[in-house]
């Protein structure tokens, strides 16, 4: 029912109470029907007197629901066919409810009683079906089935769930539409913009319809953000009338909007690996954030581990280690030891029971040798390792080659040289490395920079 003429706000305001009011006839009539059948047993015969009242009240509230529902239909945005079916079923159901009421207050003849049972059964089925259609209108046709388990789907003859895309682990292999744009729209937009409930005549559940857009303009104009209604709507200031999603619904994040921009500016393809686009700067960080790939605060720190043994933590605390969980809800640990003059040497093997939990480790200036690195090399979840100002040599560094999650490595003030760095080149996630006051030569650094443009190498100020 597509009304282009202006409708009074009052009508739609009242209409929106339909989903509330509609539960009255459902509940009351259900109660009436069940009492009607129960009252046939002698044990429950006292219920008989209530049936006319319940059916009467049910019929009355059904009339009210119809009126409210009709008002609601003026706001538009529902599929015409589905809406009409629901509307006429509702009206039919109301008529039958009135008939059922009349039949129970009418004279009791045999024929009436036979008719009554039929009416009741019909009412029961009708209530369920009409209610279901209404639910589909409000929540979308796939609302009920979306999370239904596969065995159940088989039973009712639905195709098995569309295969979930495997989680993205490497940015380059993520698909710009299937892994980025489409899930974003599904999460934020599709509940109102689907084939069953196409507000503004916009459907965002299929590629073609996304591009096509709705009554307010073309959804996506390739390479033109201003003309792409989809982009314009989500990127407006939040208080703007045209802003989407509307009030009270969660807006897209800045990063998500950035990626939408990237997609539109790159031809809005239906398929295409992220690796094929030139992604840099803000786009890159946005992509990493949205896909949960960033190292800092990303999945390396989201790892689930067992809590550390509190007795071991307590004994290490007593020896001067400072041990914190990295945040609430996480059992990963940040361990440091602030060097003090004249302190005793503490063997770091005592940290081994925490090897799964430690992600940050700061053991600068602790007189660690190559042998100690053999211990540290077992801390496979390590993200940030600071072992500056220790007598460590190239030999020891080979033990660190197994720290696949390592992102930041601080080696300033150690005795490592060019050869030692060779042994670290297999560390894929390494972002930053500190090499001030070591024997690493500037040539080697240049060489590394050329080879790994994303690796930040700090060799400090001159005069070292």
């Amino acid at each position: 029912m597509d009304h282009t003429t202006e409708v009074s706000d009052w009508i739609i305001f009242i209409g929106r109470f339909h989903p509330l009011i509609v539960h009255l006839p459902i509940g009351i009539i259900l109660a009436g029907i069940s009492m009607y059948f129960l009252a046939r047993k002698t044990k429950f015969s006292q219920l008989k007197g209530s049936v006319p009242f319940l059916l009467g009240a049910g019929a009355l509230s059904a009339v009210l629901s119809c009126v409210f529902g009709y008002m609601l239909s003026f706001q538009g945005g529902y599929g015409t066919e589905a809406l009409n079916a629901h509307l006429w079923m509702g009206i039919a159901l109301t008529i039958f409810a009135v008939l059922a009421f009349i039949s129970v207050v009418w004279k009791r003849t045999k024929r009436v009683v036979a008719l009554q049972s039929g009416l009741m059964v019909f009412l029961l089925v009708g209530l369920g079906y009409t209610g279901h259609m209404g639910g589909n209108l409000t929540h979308g046709a796939s609302y009920l089935t979306q999370y239904s388990p596969d065995p159940l789907r088989k039973l009712v003859g639905l195709p098995p769930k569309p295969e979930k895309r495997p989680p993205v682990t490497v940015l380059d292999s993520a698909d710009i539409f299937l892994d980025v744009v489409s899930p974003m729209l599904s999460d934020y937009c599709v509940s109102c913009h689907n084939p069953g409930k196409s507000k503004g005549d916009l459907v965002l559940s299929s590629y073609d319809r996304i591009i096509k857009g709705g009554e307010n303009g073309q959804g996506v104009v390739i390479g033109d953000l201003k003309e792409s209604e989809l982009y314009r709507r989500v990127s407006l200031p939040e208080h703007h009338d045209d802003f989407m999603p509307p009030d009270g619904k969660k807006p897209l994040s800045g990063e998500q909007i950035k990626l939408l921009e990237l997609w539109i500016m790159n031809g809005a393809p239906e398929k295409g690996q992220m690796g094929d686009f030139q992604i840099e700067g803000d786009y890159l960080s946005a992509a990493n954030k949205v896909l949960g790939l960033e190292g800092h605060g990303g999945n390396s720190l989201a790892r689930k581990v067992e809590p550390a043994d509190s007795l071991i933590v307590a004994s290490l605390n007593a020896k001067g280690y400072v041990i914190r969980t990295i945040s609430e809800g996480s059992y990963l640990l940040d361990v440091s030891f602030v060097a003090q003059k004249n302190m005793e040497n503490v063997s770091i093997e005592q940290l081994l029971p925490l090897k799964d939990q430690i992600v940050y480790l700061n053991l600068g200036n602790r007189n660690l040798g190559d042998k100690d690195l053999e211990v540290i090399g077992q801390f496979e979840n390590m993200v940030r390792l600071n072992i500056h100002s220790n007598p460590i040599t190239d030999e020891g560094l080979s033990f660190l080659a197994k720290l696949e999650n390592l992102e930041v490595l601080n080696l300033y003030g150690t005795q490592i040289g060019d050869n030692g760095l060779e042994r670290l080149e297999m560390l894929q996630k390494l972002n930053r490395i500190y090499l001030w006051n070591t024997q690493v030569t500037p040539e080697k650094v240049e060489n590394l920079k050329a080879k790994y443009p994303d690796l930040e190498i700090n060799i400090g100020e001159e005069a070292s």
């Binding site: 509190s310 041990i323 990295i326 609430e328 930053r432 005069a463």
Partner: protein, 482 residues
């Protein structure tokens, strides 16, 4: 303390406690809550009000270089070439709007706009504009996030300093460092959690110690001021004839007496006193090592400037700040006064720049090469900005600028902040913020966020209500987070 309970508190806790134990067991021991109960809360490993941060912290410590007096944004970072056209002309009413002026210009009949006497150039890959008075800072702009759109509510020094440091213009609230000390506990039990370093000499404006006060928090959370002279802390050595063992024994007895008193009166301030005695004892060992800069090599002094050899200078304090940061002191607050150029601005600000520029940049470089910038946040800024119009007579080579809360510049660098960024815009006169305003409360919320704290969840109940640093305001400035 743990056995002290009010009647209400006891009833509430036992009711809620039994309820949640029952619930947890219903949900089975595999549920998250059940697990946490079984863990016995052992994962609050260090104490501190929060136990652990709300989310993984980007910054573990802060060095706040407070430039007290209100450095002019117009002669430092907020480049306004348009002002040259307006130089000497009256400020248009459309620009001035309803922003208030201080009483100090109330007798002034004319408000001539004045351009910066110093030239600006773009530096680094980010192309940020920096004034010629900051040649060293200009070298590190790619590590800074310069915010030109700061805004405060206060127009005079004392309330404005208080506002930045405590979130309230009236003194008496805890300062940022105290909140952190209270919330996060210490990473180094041998040094105070919150250290304050003042440059010697100061300026025309006094600086009140309430700026690093603990307010209503227990008093061992207040900033510990290190003296600016040769001995940062007096009487660190035991007096002649007193052995370390004697000192320890005496402290143990004092502590027994204090504990006895505490059992009787239950005054939490007695606990603070015990903490402070213990801290003083530990500092006898830790402080000489922490602040002794004698062993720093020459090239480090070259980095910070020769001034760093003179105790009490800003440069010496910057060097000390780095040493304290290396030892995991949570909040290191520097104050350098004298940025209050009501008149004679060209000469005055030049002198201030000479005293601070090299050391500031040196600190950034030094932190960076040690990898400390990775998890240390550095903050630079004053309490407000200065007016675009001249205070007093404008001559060819002299002018002044009055206090201006409407816009000013601060920068942050290091942990979790986008490097090489210039954020926010002011109008062509640097009088009003026109884009991305960052209010003082927003700055505070962002600072706490970088330390892993949700600013709405670090609270202290006092006089019947829960207080927080950002009062009831503040939004994290997400745009500047890396």
């Amino acid at each position: 303390m743990e056995f002290m309970e009010t009647r209400r508190g006891f009833l509430k806790k036992s009711a809620l406690g039994f309820g949640s134990v029952a619930l947890a067991s219903l949900m089975g021991p595999s549920s998250l809550y059940g697990n946490e109960l079984l863990g016995g809360g052992a994962q609050n490993l260090l104490g501190g009000y929060l136990g652990s941060t709300h989310f993984p912290a980007k910054a573990k410590r802060v060095i706040y270089l407070f430039q007290s007096g209100g450095p002019s944004q117009l002669e430092t970072f907020d480049y306004k070439p348009e002002l040259a056209k307006w130089h000497g002309k009256e400020i248009p009413p459309s620009v001035q709007g309803t922003q208030r002026n201080s009483g100090m210009v109330s007798s002034q009949s004319t408000f001539p706009l004045v351009k910066s006497i110093y030239d600006f150039k773009q530096y680094g890959q980010s192309g940020a504009w920096v004034s010629e008075i900051f040649p060293y800072t200009a070298q590190v702009v790619d590590d800074l996030c310069i915010i030109n759109s700061m805004r405060t509510d206060a127009i005079n020094h004392e309330p404005a300093v208080m506002f930045l440091q405590t979130g309230s213009q009236q003194s008496g609230r805890p300062s940022i460092g105290s909140w952190l000390s209270y919330g996060l506990a210490s990473d180094n039990k041998n040094l105070p959690n919150f250290v304050v370093l003042l440059s010697k000499g100061g300026g025309a404006q006094p600086l009140s110690s309430a700026a690093w006060g603990n307010g209503f928090l227990p008093s061992h959370h207040q900033g510990v001021q290190f003296r600016s002279g040769k001995d940062p802390v007096l009487y660190l050595n035991n007096p002649h004839g007193v052995h370390d063992e004697d000192r320890r024994r005496a402290l143990d007895y004092v502590s027994q007496l204090n504990n006895h008193q505490f059992d009787v009166w239950k005054d939490p301030e007695i606990q603070s006193k015990i903490n402070q005695y213990e801290m003083a004892y530990k500092m006898q060992n830790s402080v000489p090592d922490a602040v002794d800069t004698k062993e720093e090599p020459d090239y480090i002094y070259k980095l910070y400037g020769e001034d760093a050899k003179t105790p009490g200078t800003y440069a010496a304090n910057c060097l000390k700040a780095r040493r304290l940061a290396e030892r995991d002191v949570k909040f290191i607050q520097l104050y350098h006064m004298g940025w209050d150029q009501h008149g004679g601005l060209p000469g005055g600000i030049k002198k201030q720049a000479l005293g601070t520029d090299q050391a500031t940049a040196g600190l950034i470089k030094d932190l960076k090469q040690r990898g400390l910038l990775e998890d240390t946040l550095v903050v630079w800024g004053g309490e407000f900005g200065r007016t675009s119009f001249s205070q007093g007579r404008l001559t060819a080579d002299n002018y002044g600028r009055d206090h201006h809360p409407g816009c000013f510049t601060m920068w942050m660098a290091g942990a979790g902040v986008k490097a090489g960024m210039v954020y926010g815009k002011t109008d062509e006169f640097s009088y009003n913020v026109v884009q991305n305003e960052v209010h003082v409360h927003d700055f505070q919320a962002t600072l706490l966020h970088l330390l892993g704290i949700d600013h709405e969840r670090l609270t202290f109940k006092h006089q019947g209500r829960r207080y927080r640093l950002t009062d009831v305001h503040g939004h994290v400035v997400k745009d500047i987070l890396s």
